[in-house]
Structure formats: C-alpha cells, structure tokens
Symmetry: C2
Subunit: 425 residues, 2 copies
C-alpha cells in the first residue's frame, strides 16, 4: 500500500515570522506522522513581496520586468528554505526546491506567466527518498532552451499575485495527488465576508463554478486561475486555516447542487471605480475605439453598460479596478476628444456586491428579490451585470455594509443548507 500523497500550500500570513514557520513545520510533521507523503508549496513570508515591490519602486519608476521577477522570486526561496530548516529541526527529512528545480516551466511572460508544463521528476525522486518536498510557489522557469554559444537561456518568471495557489493545484494535478490543501488565515469559504457580516456561515462544500465567481467578484481566499486549473483537472481543493484546527471548505464538483439553496454566498469588491463617457456619438465602432486602447494599456474592464441612445448620442459606463483609474483617465482623454464626447466622469467611491449560486439563471425571482432587498434597505443600484451563476450590482461604497447585511438576511444565508446540515448531522 502506498502512502497517500498530499499537496499543501501555506500563504504568507501563515509564514510571517520564524515562530509561525516553526508552527507550520509542526503541522506538517503531524500530517507526516499520519503516514502522508507531502509536497508543500509556500508563498513569501508575510509582507515580503510588498516590501520588495516598494524597494524596486524606490529605485525606479519603471522596473525592468525580467529583473522584477528574479527579485520577487527570492521571497519564496527564503520562506521555502526556512521551512525546510524548521522541519530538519523537528527531525523530519525535508528539501526545498525552486520552481525551476521542481520542473515547473512557464510560457515566459514576466510578471504574469502561465504554467506551460510540469515535469516533477525531482519532486517524485525526493518524495520517494522519504523527504517532505518544499516548493517555492509563484514561479517557474521559462522554457527557452540553450543559446548558440551553449549557455542556458531559461529565465525566472513569476505567475502574478496569488500564484502560489496555482503552483499548488498544478503540482497536485501533475503528481496525481490524493488531496490539495490550501492553508490560509481563514477557516474556509463563508456565505459572506465574516469581518463585515457577523452572521456569515461557513460553507463545508462549494462547486468550482460558484467559487470562481466568488473569487472573480472579490473573495480573496483563492486565486481565480487556481480554481480554473483545479476545475479543468478535477483537483479537489480543501481550504483550511493554518491557525486553528477546524473543518475547512471543499471546492469540488458539487453533486448536491440541485438540492441546495440557490444562493450560496455573497461577494463584494471595493477595488472598483466607475468611468462614464457622457454623450458619445451612437454609431458603430465607438465601443472599439474606447476599449481597444484600454486593453492595450492592460486595464481590466468589468461591467459595461450602454444606455439606449437618443438624439444620436448615448452614455457609456464601465468599471475598472480602482488602482487603474488614473491610468484609464490618461488613456481615455485623447479618445474623448477624438470622439467629440461631451465629457469623461469618474467615480472611485463605488463597490460591487454579488449573489452567487449555481443555477441562479434558471431560477427567476432571485434578481427581483436582490433588487427589492437593496431598495428596501435604501441602497441605490447604479449598474447591474449577470452571469450563469451570479448577479452583481454596483452601489455606492458607503452602502456596502448595509447591502451585504440585508442580502445575507433576505437569502437566509445564516441558515445551514439542508444538504450540509444532513452531512454534518
């Protein structure tokens, strides 16, 4: 009988000090004592990544992307080596590997590389040799090969914010791991952010699609790409707290989805700003001339609303991440002139609130109940967008807590799902 293979991932807050690293090591030693083979993916300690970004910003306004990736990757090298040392101190054989040593190859795009391939030969070799393998998350080598002169041209590339989740899921898929555990600073996924909605309920299970919408709509617990990757590869993710021993949330195909409360949870996002082009000509090609330059500047557009035009003119509104608002303004000012639109208005004091649940679109009445609840709570809706499993309203940021509380009550999210209640009972 072979031991079960478990991939664990620990985030920066779980590794923020020498003391926390030692306590993560103790947790790993406990898993190992249960007979599990372990591959552990780590993020950088605490705020290391932000500190390195600050340092680079103090050196130059426009850091070279290649150099930035080598710089940022050092954060995960440090946490990986320290965790390995802490395991040695507990008598647990362990070895740290960089992303490159773990066989992770990317498409080579600095700062936002995607994993192209994993050949985890060395990971398997070290696991077979009885070691806990600690892999530096968030990184891999570009698969460039060798130069004419015979030197290795592969470069360090990073996977973007939260990329360690992706590393963990990708390794779990490549290794055919029995489980993939994401240790974080919360006890899993809740029906809303417990810091804002005290009645928020812990969810024992959530489907991939619902999790994806929650992640997209601002739930910080899991990175979107990691959830996508898990879905495509059928990797079951368990989200757990590294600080308390408590059941986590399983992210997986949910066979009980039909029996469930249609609304599984609320998401919200404050990192959003509204942009409106007032009185643009209502003719073909206008949308392209607005959104092409934004895309070229790398700005993510989310909700888009165009009002019905009259007098040959219309208003075009959309949202951008709040941190990209200044850039969006610079990009759009010449566009507004060229289109002869009346003006460009922006509002950074907005927020998005979403209800998320598989099959929402087949269940009329949810949208009406959401809008009615917000109206009763005195919250004005500025924009609306929907997907298969989600309805999102843009509201004033000042109304966010009111809106979340009212929606949580209206959809009875504090009451355990009958399916979950049966499973727990």
């Amino acid at each position: 009988m072979t031991a079960p293979l478990v991939v664990q991932k620990y985030g920066g807050s779980s590794l923020a000090s020498a003391e926390r690293i030692r306590s993560v090591a103790a947790r790993i030693a406990g898993s190992r004592a249960l007979g599990e083979d372990l591959v552990v993916v780590v993020s950088a300690m605490g705020d290391t990544t932000d500190e390195l970004l600050d340092l680079a910003a103090a050196v130059t306004d426009e850091p070279d992307p290649r150099e930035m990736d080598v710089l940022l990757a050092t954060g995960e090298h440090q946490s990986a080596t320290l965790l390995s040392m802490a395991l040695h101190a507990l008598g647990v054989p362990a070895i740290s590997l960089t992303g490159a040593q773990a066989g992770i190859t990317t498409d080579g795009r600095y700062g936002r590389a995607r994993i192209a391939n994993i050949e985890p030969r060395r990971v398997r070799h070290e696991v077979t040799a009885g070691k806990v393998v600690i892999v530096a998350g968030f990184q891999g080598r570009s698969g460039v090969g060798t130069s004419d002169e015979g030197h290795d041209l592969a470069e360090t590339t990073t996977l973007g914010r939260g990329g360690s989740d992706t590393t963990a899921v990708a390794l779990a898929a490549a290794l055919g791991a029995d489980r993939c555990q994401i240790f974080t600073d919360v006890t899993g996924i809740h029906s809303a952010d417990p810091r804002i909605v005290p009645a928020a309920r812990h969810l024992p299970v959530i489907g991939y699609e619902e999790m994806l919408e929650l992640a997209h709509q601002g739930a910080q617990v899991m990175q979107v790409r990691a959830v996508e990757l898990a879905w495509v590869n059928g990797v079951v993710i368990e989200v757990l707290s590294s600080f308390v021993d408590a059941p986590g949330t399983l992210i997986k195909e949910d066979p009980d989805v039909e029996q469930r409360n249609k609304v599984r949870g609320l998401a919200h996002d404050r990192n959003v700003a509204k942009v409106t082009l007032v009185a643009v000509p209502d003719r073909p090609g206008v949308a392209r001339s607005v959104f092409d330059p934004l895309a070229e500047a790398g700005i993510n557009i989310d909700m888009i609303v165009q009002n019905v035009g009259h007098d040959g003119q219309t208003d075009l509104s959309f949202t951008v991440p709040r941190v990209e608002l200044a850039l969006a303004r610079r990009v759009l000012e010449p566009v507004v002139s060229a289109l002869e639109a009346r003006e460009l208005t922006t509002d950074p004091s907005v927020a998005k609130v979403s209800i998320v649940g598989a099959g929402l679109h087949n269940a009329p009445g949810y949208a009406a109940r959401m809008f009615g609840t917000l109206a009763d709570a005195g919250v004005n809706i500025e924009m609306i967008s929907t997907s298969e499993v989600r309805i999102t309203c843009m509201i004033a940021e000042a109304d966010l807590e009111t809106a979340l509380g009212a929606l949580h009550g209206a959809f009875e999210l504090e009451t355990p799902d009958p399916v979950d209640a049966a499973a727990v009972g």
Copy 2:
C-alpha cells in the same frame, strides 16, 4: 580597437539603500561613458546577510547547510536585480545574472565552496550585446550534473564571508579583464586602521604577499582568498571608495619592494580568544589529541605556544576566533579529562597586533624594535608568532589602541615611503 573590459565589485555598504544603489548606478554609467565594457559583481545590500542569518537562527539552532546557502544567495539576487533596474532607469542596458547563470561552478561545499571553474559564455554574450552585466557575488552552482531520472542536480552553493571579492577576481581572471576594481567604504589600504590610528597613511600600492598577511591578520578590506586568487592569476586589484572620488590602492606584484620601508602596515584583530590547557602531560601525541577534535569541529587555530615542560608537564596555549570559543570549550572539556590536565582556562579579552612587510624576516632588529616599543608603552606581550612577512603579538584587548599608536610612530608609518613619494610627486 576593442573597449577595455573592467570588472567592478560593490560591497554591501555601497548598496545599503535604494538611494545608494542609484548612486552606484550613476558611477557605473560614468565608467561606461568613458568607453569601458563592464561586468559588475555585487554583495547583498547592507546587513541583509546578517538579517537572514538571524532569521535562520530564530527558526533553528542548526540550520541545514544546503538550505542556508539557498537562503543567503537570495541577498545577492536582490541587490543584482535592483542595480540592473537602476541602470535601466538611467538608460544603460543591463542584465543581472545569478552565479549559476554567469557560469560559476564550485566544488559543492555548502557555506564555504571554492570556485572550481568559470565558463563565462553568457557574460561575454551579454557584454558583446552592449549590456552591463551584473553578477550576483558570493555564489555558484555545484557541478553535480544530472540524475538517473534526468533532472538537474546542481545546487546553489555560497563561497563564505566576503565571497563576492573572490567572485570578482575569478571573473576578472576568466574574462582576461583589463582591470578589477573593488569598491568599498574606505579609500583603500592604510598603514593601520584610520578609525584607531588617526595618523594612518594611505598606501598607493601594496604587494600581494603583504596584503595577504594584512587580510589574514584582521584587515577587513579584502578577503584572503580573493587576494590569493589574484596573486596566482596575476590579476591587479584596485581598492577604491564608492563614496568619494579619491585614488585607491593597487594590489599587485611590487617591483619596488626592496626600496621600501620594510614595515608597510599594521594589522589588528579583536576576534580572538586565548585557550590554555594547564599542566598537560608532556608526551608525544598530546598535541594531536587536542587539535584533531578542534579541526573536526571546524575551529580555526591560529597562534600556538607550548612552554618548556618540567616535572613531566607543560602548558599548551593557542588562539581561536572569539566567536568559536564556546564551541572550543565544549569540544575540549572531555579532552582535558582524558589527558588528566589540571584545567582549561580561557581569555576572550585579548587581541592580536601585527607588523607586516615583505622581507621582514631578512631584516633583524624589527622584532626587537616591536617588542621594545610595546614594553615602553606598558603593553604586556602574551604570545608571539611570526611568518616571512609578519610579526604578531597577542596582547590584552584593552591595550590595543595604545599598542597600535606606539607601533605606528616607532616604525615611522606616517611618513610617505620614498618610492611612493617619488611616484606621487
């Protein structure tokens, strides 16, 4: 005509902040504007290495050497990428390379690796492409090759304290560089430490052998191994300040050595402690049973004195680095019991002071003048050792400043050498 190739090395204090990194970048841009091709070796920023050591010590008492090397190497990766970014910001094409990418292969000993080979193909390639190449100092990859399963087994290894000097000299030798400049926080080598002896004089030139003794005896400016490597390969080193524009010191074969003042400079070392085994049996094999276990524990022994025995017993004294005194005590306690010596005494409050100069051993009278000067200054000599180019006395640490001042005057070190005076004049 090809451009002259210059290897520059910047130490941690020259790179201690974003501001200093930008000013080093400006200095490099200046060298480049003079038409030089540049390969720049960097140490970790400021106290980074010590901070990483502290972090590891907070995790475990006995950090795994392999993990420690990966951890420490991140310090140089960070400074190299930041310096490269700062050069980009000045419009200077630049690229950072890790030790491995620069083609530096070591003998694989963690924490104290020696450079086994350099194949600087990529360095040459990038220089030819018009870039300033920034190489992370202090590190190289072990040349282990590939496993049976086909994965790369090479590991990150570090060269020990001050290893970046060695990286710079080795690269200068491998590239056939025209010059090797070591930028530091002092303006070169002085006849004594100017912080202790205000009359200390700047030396325009010093021979390899003399520099080696100064470095061995505690002068912190250059690493011993780097000087050895330069001597063997005939690399001329220029030691310069990165903070002020002032002439530095050339370390090279010194053709004028015969014409010079025999004493070139004073060295001192506070990182020393005295160990005495009192009343050990005076018979063959005793020294081995004392020094074998110390060598196994990796403790460096320096001066050794054994008094003439009587009554079949003798006292055996030697010095160890002060930081290794506690370890030496632990190693020696069972030895003292086994040998039935009377006791083990230790004194951490000692220091070494040395006069250094080529040909000292051919010039009788210098030892006598040293001992007489110390006696006149009321400084008691506890132990003495000599080499071809050096005479060292161990004294109480409290007497160190008095001793250095008296010796500097007695050997007229504040007076420029006739040879140097002629060169400057």
